[in-house]
Symmetry: C2
């Protein structure tokens, strides 16, 4: 059994966020001790893992709650859950593609600036070489 602080450290999620998620109904089986302190089991950690995963790929909390509810409902919802996981995977793959595109933009920018620095930097101090307003480089 783990306190919320331990879970925060193990799963790398802030205590605040864990409480927020708990209040959102994402951990339906976490128990409390005699002092009302949350006691996370190893099984509960798996719930944290999957919530963290769904959040990381941009799933809305409303949708996460629906998935959690399906889990709670039991074996009859396995196919629904399977479908959600597949859709989520596809979303993650799309994000990967998008991230690659943005990395291309950044690579281009990096080369552009490196080139400027390596070949034209002395021009910077030349007052004859001022750019016209409105045409500045991003």
């Amino acid at each position: 059994m783990y306190t919320i602080k331990e879970v925060a450290k193990i799963m790398d999620v802030s205590e605040h966020t864990l409480r927020f998620w708990a209040k959102s109904g994402f951990f339906p089986f976490v128990e409390r001790d005699s002092n009302n302190i949350r006691q996370f089991s190893d099984n509960d950690l798996e719930w944290v893992r999957i919530v963290k995963c769904l959040r990381a790929v941009g799933t809305e909390n409303k949708a996460i709650k629906k998935y959690i509810d399906l889990c709670v409902a039991g074996d009859s919802t396995i196919k629904d859950r399977y479908k959600i996981i597949q859709e989520t995977k596809q979303k993650a793959l799309n994000q990967m593609e998008e991230l690659k595109k943005q990395l291309d933009v950044l690579d281009f920018k990096e080369n552009f600036y490196r080139n400027l620095i390596e070949h034209n930097l002395e021009d910077t101090w030349n007052p004859m070489n001022k750019r016209k307003t409105g045409a500045k480089t991003v």
Copy 2:
């Protein structure tokens, strides 16, 4: 020259977001026509592209504004901008790694559910096979 609607379509960013970004000072060189309508130039589109890119990898708007201000300041800030682009690239690569990890979690889940569906689904309808409360699968 493009209206905000055209830019929204070309760059795949909503008009609302473009106005929000404009108000945040991200497009310092966009001009207006006689009716106060924004006229984006091709050069302005490059500003939209880089802002979109920085946002996509999680750069805060405050930090984007700083980058924009460096651009406006001119050639003397090229080395600072180069450094920001490099840091941003590193951030994007880290996100790629994180996304890969979450994809592993999703792959595991997918296999887990597929296995259940392929081999144990008939158990679902067997009332003898109810899981104990608190041990449900996420």
